[in-house]
Symmetry: C2
Subunit: 391 residues, 2 copies
């Protein structure tokens, strides 16, 4: 059936703070066809992405992303692949395109699921969705005692895996970092998974990372995440060969399949972390998950925002039994929490199970979201190219 409309909605908390919390604003995509509607979310700068959707053509390889959807139909997964291909072939010089495509592709899968009355993971070819072990993701405390308190609290809440990141880590001396790692481990006890996230803070500085390996090992860290900037293959590879060995995780910054493959082939990773809202959507993410399986690398979602983003990020590896761990947003702002009417909650075993409902299995709370709408207007040569549509 013919795609009737594609609409972008820029939502934001009243105040956006200068902190590492990506749930303070959101860019939703709504696509309608044949009486159904699908929803997606771009993990991206909303205004920049809207501009890249409506911008005038610069040349044949730098077209607005809207061009790739114009006149298209949606009846099968091949139609989604065709739209992906049209974006890649016609927008390769529009750098923002992958982030824009991400939300569109997610909305297309949701929509197709609703048309066919199947969950997305089934459309992706998985015969079932396996339970995942959600890990709580949070900031290190300012002092080790605070890190200990946070870890104890997460254990009390029943989490079997916890990730600490950012905060003071890497910014002071290695001894202080060691105290934080030990405080986290002490708070969690010996059985829980503990992960550490540097948030690319060390740039390409392998020296700083190597100073901490022994301390990470002592705390029995399951993985060390993003010690370096995305695509700094040499620094990653170098660290992956160092002793003592600590498993490396990265990939959330990848904005297409090829970058993720480069990271899997040459960065020495044990875990590849993909954000469906950035990598080009569910289509690109599934292709990466397939390849990760062949290479014996564990696929993990990256999700820090809404349950719409969570469902979209888990579907691509829902059917991979051995990819057990799943990032679970626990500190998201009100906006992100209010996007969907339903939530994906851990069951009594503490595991996450995707719904079998059509599409992404969630409905959007449009009435409630109106208060977060950011009215936006773009005019070029006097012509209105974008104005916030009705939600």
């Amino acid at each position: 059936m013919k795609i009737e409309s594609v609409d972008f909605f820029y939502l934001s908390m009243p105040e956006v703070l200068d902190v590492g919390d990506g749930s303070q604003d959101a860019l939703l995509v709504r696509i309608r066809a044949g009486g159904h509607e699908g929803w997606g979310e771009c993990e991206a700068s909303p205004l920049t992405s809207i501009a890249g959707y409506v911008c005038p053509m610069s040349h044949s390889g730098c077209k607005p992303v809207s061009w790739a959807l114009d006149g298209m139909s949606l009846t099968s997964v091949n139609d989604i692949y065709k739209i992906n291909q049209r974006v890649h072939e016609n927008c390769f010089d529009l750098l923002q395109a992958d982030h824009i495509l991400s939300g569109i592709d997610i909305a297309l899968w949701d929509l197709l699921g609703k048309i066919k009355q199947e969950p997305v993971f089934a459309l992706l070819g998985y015969s079932q969705s396996y339970p995942k072990l959600p890990y709580a993701s949070q900031l290190f405390g300012d002092i080790p005692e605070e890190t200990f308190q946070k870890a104890s609290e997460s254990k009390k809440q029943g989490y079997k895996a916890v990730k600490f990141g950012w905060g003071p880590i890497g910014k002071l001396d290695a001894k202080t970092d060691r105290e934080h790692f030990q405080a986290a481990r002490k708070g969690l006890g010996s059985d829980l998974f503990l992960m550490v996230d540097i948030g690319t803070y060390w740039g390409e500085d392998t020296g700083k990372a190597k100073q901490r390996l022994q301390f990470l090992k002592e705390a029995n860290v399951y993985w060390l995440e993003e010690p370096f900037v995305n695509m700094s293959l040499e620094a990653y590879k170098n660290l992956s060969c160092a002793t003592p060995h600590v498993s490396l995780a990265a990939g959330e910054g990848c904005n297409n399949y090829h970058q993720a493959v480069a990271m899997m082939d040459y960065a020495g990773l044990k875990f590849i972390q993909i954000d469906t809202g950035r990598v080009g959507g569910i289509t690109a993410a599934k292709r990466i998950a397939d390849r990760a399986t062949v290479q014996n690398i564990t696929y993990v979602n990256h999700t820090f925002t809404s349950h719409l983003a969570l469902s979209a990020s888990v579907q691509p590896f829902a059917g991979i039994k051995d990819s057990r761990v799943c990032e679970y947003p626990v500190e998201a702002r009100a906006l992100a929490n209010e996007i969907t009417k339903e939530k994906i909650l851990p069951n009594e075993s503490g595991e996450l199970v995707l719904s079998n409902k059509p599409g992404l299995g969630l409905s959007i709370d449009t009435e409630n979201l109106k208060k977060y709408l950011v009215e936006t207007e773009i005019r070029v040569k006097g012509k209105l190219l974008y104005k916030t549509p009705d939600l």
Copy 2:
């Protein structure tokens, strides 16, 4: 001295056609400090890049690029490095950022050159600028006879090197492609350099490429350019090991240092082609040129637009004597030709020599460009974030 203003100007031909010609619009950046002004050009979607410069902050790692320049000074090259670092550390989740930074970084180098009364290549540490051999870049003809005519014409014009690309190549059978390669070689004679550019048309299909290797070899092709999409390292590596051996060139799609390094390390390239207007500017390009030299890979500029872009793209390898070949725009539209008052023309030996004037050595023809200005307005929550400034 304090940076007083940073202004973006979106320029366009009255009509933009759906052809592979990136000179149909332009995004210029003007930066002023202490009575001087510097100019740069982004090889990017103008509207999308302007939006990424002024967009509201999403979180600490997704700030508008303008944030990185706020309150900054420019007195030394270290100030440029500092601004680059601020963009990378604060805008890493804004995908478009590298394309925006490109024009800003170029304008900063131009401005610093004017403040210090030195050409950019001298600021980059080169004791002199070596002559380059410009190659004319053009489309294949629709039929082999037309390709022959174009090649003969370029030879008559005195070019020592010619690149043919796009058009029918790769889209029909290998036999037709062979006739085009032979027609191009026949038109150029045996002494001139002939390059062939596929413009990523083969995606990741190494089979199609391998079918043509023998024919490329027969025509004594100096390099085969972009047979595959950017960052498809596996396809490139595979082709680079195939026989008969044809040297590979690629890299114009890289939007940062790390991607270029990945291509140099793992794609089996003999030539790395960098567009200063996309890769993050002169700063990133120079770092890539330094590394290419160590790895015995030949650095080549990618330039298809103005002489401002040409100067900015040649400066980073101006002092590398062995990197002889230089892409030279010969089919640019009126807009691109009218951006600078001066042109960088081949001398009587057919060689290109950069000017010793301060900065990029060119002045902008602002009066003449007013007719190309695209009036643009962006409003968020009723607040005017961008309006085309006075040129």
